[in-house]
Symmetry: C2
Subunit: 147 residues, 2 copies
DNA sequence: TATTGTTATACTCTATAACTATA
DNA sequence: TATAGTTATAGAGTATAACAATA
């Protein structure tokens, strides 16, 4: 007999697998890898960034970012540009191709959400969202504890 | 203005990050890697398996399983044994150490669920679960579509 | 002195293809 | 002939440490 709490978390994980599958489809179709897609996504959120900043945002070593940017640069998704004030640093920016990839991913994500929850009545969905938002405080505490 | 459906899916993803963080903590503390932990988990669910079966369950090449089992064997989490009827095959089983690792992971998962949803009233949680289970049909259809 | 990014080196995960032993 | 697992080879992601250029 599994506790209600565990059942709830398992259902949440089930949905996250769906998102992961959609992400895998995107990567397969675009020829991008997981880590490179992650970097593109972060770059879309933050705008042009130094490799140090990207290393921090991705929780990865600076050396690793060099490799990821090398690959994304070769595929035409990002460009390295000189930092305007610090000559040690480089700014990594999305190209038009990179921007399009991020936008496709965003649209695919929204499309998935619409199809998954589309048939759930608004009141039900609002209550669902409220329950999740109620856990926000606990969430923050647990995340800090796990770092 | 983001749609309610997208907000809901984003909240779900937020929780899955918590589970991922807990998994990362487990891996850090146990010295296991993600793919090796995944193999241990599957082995815990299915019992002793051939490497072919593991390759299928993990959606990974047979060659890859060879490497994962090599590592887990060296760390004492699994053992290779001769298959009782097919001399081409080997059966991979959990050792006592491996079993303990799987159990710790299971307990950590349940503990996380209890702490995350512990303060949510039962009626709220039941409604939450019902909403998620309502999407089961759509979930299956979408998963099939993405394969 | 400290920081940014790269070169050097090494390990894990991943794949395909060829090979061995067995079915 | 087909299947189970391994060896051979290759590429991506990851890390730490040493180094060059710049702050």
């Amino acid at each position: 007999m599994t506790a209600l709490q565990t059942q709830a978390l398992d259902q949440v994980l089930r949905l996250s697998q769906l998102v992961a599958a959609d992400l895998a489809r995107f990567e397969r179709e675009s020829g991008l890898t997981g880590p490179r897609t992650h970097l593109l996504w972060v770059l879309g959120l933050t705008g042009p960034s130094t490799q140090q900043a990207l290393a921090g945002a991705l929780s990865v070593s600076p050396r690793n970012v060099t490799g990821l940017v090398d690959g994304l640069s070769a595929s035409g998704h990002v460009v390295r540009e000189p930092h305007p004030t610090d000559r040690r640093a480089t700014l990594v920016s999305l190209t038009e191709t990179g921007r399009r990839a991020v936008q496709e991913l965003q649209e695919s994500h929204e499309d998935l959400a619409a199809r998954l929850f589309g048939s759930v009545p608004t009141e039900r969905l609002t209550a669902f969202l409220a329950t999740l938002e109620e856990t926000a405080g606990t969430f923050e505490r647990l995340m800090a504890e796990l770092s």
